[in-house]
């Protein structure tokens, strides 16, 4: 593999790690593992943990994909690998 494509792949893996960590934290973390602790905090009429499980996690998922699209388009551009 040429050095450029190697660097491209490495950066891609870095993005994946960061974004999937956020994915894990908002759903499995805030929505499941720490739901009871977060439920002590109120967000308007919502208990925060409950809100993450039924609303917040989904909003974050959508944002994550669009952030990934932006990051990767820029990365494709940088290494001149766009299709």
């Amino acid at each position: 593999m040429a050095t450029d494509t190697k660097k491209y792949w490495k950066t891609n893996l870095k993005y994946l790690t960061i974004l999937l960590s956020i994915w894990f934290v908002v759903s499995f973390g805030c929505g499941i593992l720490f739901v009871d602790e977060l439920n002590n905090i109120k967000l308007g009429g919502f208990k925060l943990g409950f809100w993450f499980a039924q609303q917040g996690a989904i909003y974050v998922f959508v944002i994550l994909i669009f952030v990934y699209i932006k990051l990767m388009n820029a990365l494709d551009e940088k290494y001149n690998l766009n299709d």
Partner: protein, 562 residues
């Protein structure tokens, strides 16, 4: 106008629309039949994916499930949306770059083995058939409840419509029909939700009404928690399932979503790798509109139901109660003979049984909305069921005509012959699906969860390792898939059907339910694949080149057979 007339008009118009689109966009080559010619725009593909994905279960049953399970229902919300993050980040762009027609195509080529291809075809067929039977049943149910025709007649009408546009249009036809179906179903879902949100909270946005106060200034969620405590139910905002089970079920649904062949194949229909990423983003956005509204509907309808019936005189209950009683979906049994409805958690004292599907279907009636809104819900439910059924049927027909006939039985088949084979297998698939819709086997309900577990236990690890682990070879992948599926089947049949000695909740391994076991089977698949690949020869040079090639977006060709 009467409700029935409204329903026939709206259902008639939408069906005419779907057929019109199918005639306009019929497929003339195998490439158009399998992947719509590979020229769908990301936005259109996002809409089509959303309709493809959201089935009768999402539209009709999910809000009801959440309504009865409260916090525990979150597994469906997070599980069925979180999978799209995995799809967009880990699968879609690379599979699009690979540029073939089907999931077994990828497995077969990446693992340079027809054994791997066959295993993948079998998994694809099992997953799709279990799923499609439920959709045809959903079509029949909507017909029978709203148009007062026999369920079986409803299934047959649905079969004819799907047959028409899936067989004629192939992927190209169903893509554009699905775009129309998304618009119908989301409109049908949102209109009653907005009406009810305004009625109950004064806020027209259901997602905000969800966290708002009622006319007395009490937060709805607090009020419902209070009602639940009073009646002995577990608190709405906290669950009754164990944390580990919620964790594993959510993971199994996420990974299963990312491994479902009818979802994956949608990403083969766009032009470029970047378009595959974009369409996953659009798809999740369109899905999220429904999925963030559903829990709000769940809260509204649960509160409405309890306030309307709990401790009320049976005789003074509104008209909708007896309407739905006739269908058997609401059952009242005055155990203590006081003429009032006691709706409580204690089974020996509870007098009311409510089917979960009612929450969406009867919601407009409960909230006293006009007839056209109720009719709209029927049209929306049909759109959701038909769009998913068509997507699944296409996977079945391409598995048979492309993966089995073209790739294994008769590689010399002509383009025209393959297209005929594809259409014929679609016809057979519709007939089989219709048969299961009319004579639903008992295991249908149980096997929808199995479909996710199977996809999680088989496809997902094989595809991920195929992309991210260059050293993964056919020995590892095949062993992983076979062990993963068998383990999943074993656990499901043991605890769902009582095979292999059966067992109750107390016997579950690590306290994980069969619905969540797909996650365990997936982990086992990953582990076995990696260990076995370490002790067996590396894949050939050209396969390793293939892996490097799919990792970069440039040089993408259109989807092709070779």
């Amino acid at each position: 106008m009467t409700l029935q007339l409204w329903t026939w008009i709206l259902v008639g118009i939408t069906f005419a629309l779907y057929i019109g689109i199918a005639i306009w966009s019929r497929a003339s080559s195998t490439k158009e039949f399998y992947v719509a010619g590979g020229g769908i725009s990301p936005l259109a593909n996002g809409l089509a994916t959303a309709a493809d994905w959201m089935s009768a279960a999402s539209f009709i049953s999910m809000a009801g499930l959440i309504s009865f399970n409260g916090y525990d229902g979150s597994v469906y919300l997070m599980g069925w949306t979180g999978g799209y993050v995995l799809l967009a980040l880990l699968l879609a762009p690379y599979l699009r770059k690979f540029g073939k027609f089907t999931v077994p195509d990828f497995i077969g080529d990446r693992y340079y083995s027809n054994v791997a291809r066959t295993v993948a075809v079998i998994c694809a067929l099992i997953v799709s058939f279990t799923y499609v039977a439920g959709q045809m049943r959903g079509v029949g149910l909507v017909f029978s409840r709203f148009l007062e025709v026999d369920i079986n007649t409803g299934v047959i009408i649905g079969m004819i419509i799907v047959l028409f546009y899936a067989v004629l249009g192939g992927m190209k036809g169903i893509t554009y029909t699905q775009v129309a179906q998304y618009c119908v179903l989301i409109f049908a879902f949102m209109v009653p939700a907005i009406f009810i949100s305004i009625q109950m909270t004064g806020n027209p946005i259901p997602q905000l009404g969800f966290g708002s106060t009622d006319t007395n200034g009490i937060y709805l969620l607090d009020k419902l928690d209070g009602l639940h405590r009073e009646l002995g139910f577990h608190e709405y905002t906290s669950g009754s399932k164990s944390t580990i089970d919620v964790f594993f079920i959510t993971a199994a649904l996420m990974v299963g979503t990312a491994g479902l062949p009818h979802v994956i194949v949608r990403f083969f229909t766009v032009k470029k790798v970047s378009d595959a990423r974009k369409s996953a983003g659009w798809a999740l956005l369109f899905i999220a509109i429904l999925y963030t509204t559903a829990p709000a509907i769940a809260l509204f309808s649960r509160t409405n139901l309890i306030e309307t019936v709990s401790n009320k005189e049976y005789k003074t209950l509104p008209q909708w109660f007896s309407n739905w009683e006739k269908t058997g979906l609401i059952q009242f049994d005055d155990k203590n003979g006081d003429g009032k409805v006691q709706y409580v958690a204690d089974a020996s004292k509870n007098e009311l049984k409510v089917d979960k599907d009612i929450m969406v279907l009867a919601n407009p009636e409960i909230a006293n909305l006009p007839n056209w809104v109720i009719a709209l819900v029927a049209a929306g439910g049909l759109a959701a069921a038909l769009s998913t059924a068509a997507g699944l049927l296409l996977v079945i027909s391409s598995s048979v005509s492309h993966d089995l006939i073209k790739k294994m039985i008769n590689p010399n088949i002509s383009e025209k012959g393959e297209l005929i084979a594809a259409r014929l297998s679609a016809v057979v698939a519709v007939v089989v699906a219709g048969y299961f819709g009319i004579h639903p086997p008992d295991f249908v309900a149980a096997t929808v969860a199995l479909a996710f577990g199977l996809a999680a236990a088989s496809f997902f690890p094989a595809i991920i390792l195929g992309i991210f682990n260059k050293r993964m070879n056919k020995e590892g992948a095949i062993a992983g898939m076979v062990v993963g599926i068998l383990l999943m089947l074993f656990y499901m049949t043991k605890f769902k059907f009582g095979w292999f000695g059966g067992g109750s909740k107390d016997n579950w391994w690590f306290g994980i339910s069969p619905e969540g076991f797909g996650t365990v089977a997936m982990l086992v698949n990953f582990t076995i694949s990696i260990i076995i690949s370490k002790f067996t020869p590396a894949p050939p040079e050209e396969v390793q080149d293939l892996v490097e090639n799919i990792r970069i977006p440039s040089g993408v060709g259109s989807a092709s057979t070779h």
